[in-house]
């Protein structure tokens, strides 16, 4: 599953590291990243791939205090939440 999203966040020290760490830790590999600071905010265009559903990533990113908004790019989104949840469950069941 490929994904793409635009994230707007307050520019605070470490915000980009925090966002990328969440992506990595939750099983989302980035393939393209553009980040731009504009006064007190940072806009990040992020795309990549994962076996997991995009909602799993978006909800974790929404918990970050600096994150103001997240807009998935619909043309590249494959949410497949139920199947992806099942796939995760299968992998955990070993």
């Amino acid at each position: 599953m490929t994904f793409s999203a635009e994230i707007t966040a307050r520019h605070e020290e470490g915000v980009l590291e925090r966002i990328l760490r969440v992506c990595r830790h939750r099983g989302f590999d980035w393939e393209s990243l553009r980040a731009r600071r504009d006064l007190g905010t940072v806009s990040i265009e992020l795309s990549g791939s994962s076996e997991r559903a995009l909602d799993l990533l978006l909800r974790q990113l929404e918990k970050l205090d600096e994150v103001l908004s997240i807009t998935p790019r619909p043309s590249l989104v494959d949410r497949r939440l139920p199947d992806a949840s099942k796939k995760l469950a299968e992998s955990l069941s070993g």
């Binding site: 020290e13 590291e17 799993l56 909800r59 918990k63 205090d65 949840s85 099942k86 469950a89 069941s93």
Partner: protein
């Protein structure tokens, strides 16, 4: 006024009564100001002990725990405690000293990038850059720590920032109340409830964290559905409530696991489908629809697809779902399981049987509030199985991280937070060694913590797994060279006694519960004793091994 004063004022304005702190070079300006603070500073003997004490304080009281350490090794020694709080959603504010800003990034003495190290184990974190920001930063840290799903917040404090002049203390509160679950979701949940024939309520640690115990019990009693609890959900129902089937999962009660396996509706309340609770995820509650109540949207359908998600205030959602259900045949079936699979405390031989001793200890300690902290291992599971809890805040156990060494410092924090309570730390010979230096803290502050130390001269839980899954190949689990724990305790100024056989149990428990100051009861148990039942890894909870 300097930056350090601003921090002290912020902590005072949060109504904090005490912090756990260990000084050092980079944090000295703050420690200097702590001398005149309105709150007390408690000195542990290891920063990890301080962090875990702040954690235990927060779990027992519901207030934010605070720990302070210096830079470098002081900060890294907090890491396990911060991770422990993160995984169990415990509200904490952790302040670390840091080298002066011109030195940051130069590999200076006692410099580590604790801000970077902790990204994965904090709810949020800051590195302070201006003294003027400190007051608001600390106040905001408290807000974040306790709001929504609680967690630890780190503030890294460069030394020069703590010395900067500060002219004013300004803070704009941002906290809002918990959101309410959408009405259409509540309606959908009610529809599922009313048609369920075999509902089970799956109670997690979120109930206690949300202070929703009364609302949860009202909901459970209204529906009359059987209730199972996770390790941290224990106490959400009173232990002797007829609806309560016990803990589910890897070392859960058979009745609880069977009920979940046969359920057609699972109502998950403040629980997160952790692997210790679910066993093989694909075979967990295989025939059940799921209603999931939680404050954290990221938990919804993270591991198990929810038919209805109720993300928001637990107290509000539970009230809306409190409807009577006509499920008598199911109730009878669950009660039959509960009766058929109740615990058997008759153990052969003369050796002390830990589950029975715990049960007896609970009977004898029933006056006023008793808080039990557990370390990690077999004794932790025996406490969960056999010590009856009537409130989640009475059972402090490291669930998510499973931190050996948690028990004693957590007991210290709990005793400070609830000075009138009886606080019992149940530990093992492996775990107690991990923060044994905190016996000095018990003595220093004369905290009347009771330590019940089960000693099987093994890393018991690992030994059990090696017996069952590694063909009895015992690698690094022999602790038969333990020190004399009675002498060790007495060397720290803590009264101690040893018992080794059943006929000594009553005298030992009398010593434990009636000694006025801190005390330790060293209990020798059989090294081969195992925890049952056990669900092996990768197996459904339906298939429980029983020895």
């Amino acid at each position: 006024m300097i930056g350090a004063d601003a921090i002290v004022r912020a902590i005072e304005d949060e109504g904090v009564e005490l912090v756990f702190g260990y000084p050092g070079g980079a944090i000295m300006p703050l420690f200097d100001r702590l001398l005149e603070a309105k709150f007390k500073t408690i000195l542990p003997r290891h920063e990890q002990g301080g962090a875990l004490a702040a954690d235990g304080y927060a779990r027992a009281t519901g207030r934010v725990g605070v720990c302070i350490a210096t830079s470098g090794p002081g900060a890294t020694n907090l890491v396990t405690g911060i991770a422990n709080a993160y995984l169990d959603s415990v509200p904490m504010v952790c302040i670390t000293g840091q080298v002066g800003q011109p030195l940051i990034g130069t590999d200076a003495f006692q410099e580590v990038d604790i801000f970077g190290l902790c990204f994965g184990i904090v709810k949020h974190s800051y590195i302070a850059r201006r003294g003027e920001d400190l007051y608001a930063m600390v106040r905001r840290a408290f807000e974040l720590a306790r709001s929504g799903r609680p967690g630890p917040v780190l503030i890294d404090l460069p030394k020069d920032v703590s010395l900067q002049k500060v002219s004013e203390l300004v803070f704009q509160a941002q906290a809002a109340g918990d959101p309410l679950a959408p009405r259409e979701n509540l309606r959908a949940a009610l529809a599922l409830l009313k048609t369920a024939q075999r509902p089970v309520i799956y109670a997690g640690g979120g109930i206690g964290i949300a202070d929703a115990v009364e609302e949860f019990r009202s909901f459970a009693h209204a529906t009359r559905a059987p209730v199972v609890a996770t390790l941290k959900g224990l106490g959400s129902m009173e232990a002797d409530d007829p609806q309560f089937l016990g803990m589910l999962g890897m070392h859960g009660m058979k009745a609880a696991n069977y009920a979940v396996h046969e359920a057609d509706l699972l109502i998950a309340v403040g629980a997160r489908f952790d692997d210790r609770a679910t066993g093989k995820l694909l075979e967990f509650a295989p025939g059940a629809a799921v209603i999931h109540l939680d404050i954290d949207a990221a938990e919804m359908s993270k591991l198990r697809q929810a038919n209805v998600s109720l993300c928001g205030s637990l107290t509000a959602s539970l009230g809306a779902l409190s409807v009577p259900l006509a499920i008598e045949p199911w109730l009878r079936r669950c009660q039959d399981w509960k009766a058929a699979y109740s615990w058997d405390y008759a153990a052969p031989g003369d050796a002390i049987y830990a589950p029975r001793l715990l049960q007896r200890c609970a009977q004898l300690s029933k006056k006023g509030r008793t808080i039990v902290t557990a370390d990690v291992g077999q004794h932790q599971m025996w406490v969960a199985q056999h010590y009856p809890f009537d409130h989640p805040r009475d059972h402090l156990t490291s669930g998510g991280l499973g931190t050996m060494g948690f028990g004693l410092p957590a007991a210290i924090g709990a005793q400070f937070g609830e000075p009138e309570a009886t606080v019992i730390c149940v530990s093992g010979d492996g775990s107690i060694m991990m923060n044994i230096q905190e016996l000095a803290t018990l003595h220093r502050y004369q905290l009347p913590v009771k330590i019940l130390l089960f000693d099987n001269q093994r890393l018991g839980m690992v030994r059990q797994w090696q017996e069952i899954f590694f063909e009895e190949r015992y690698s690094a689990t022999d602790l038969s060279d333990n020190p004399d724990f009675v002498l060790v305790a007495r060397a720290f100024g803590v009264a101690a006694m040893r018992i080794e056989s059943r006929d000594e149990e009553e005298a030992g428990l009398k010593f434990l519960l009636e000694t006025e100051g801190p005390c330790l009861l060293h209990v020798r148990i059989d090294p081969s004793a195992n925890v049952w039942p056990l669900v092996p890894p990768g197996v459904s909870n339906f298939h429980m091994m029983e020895g």
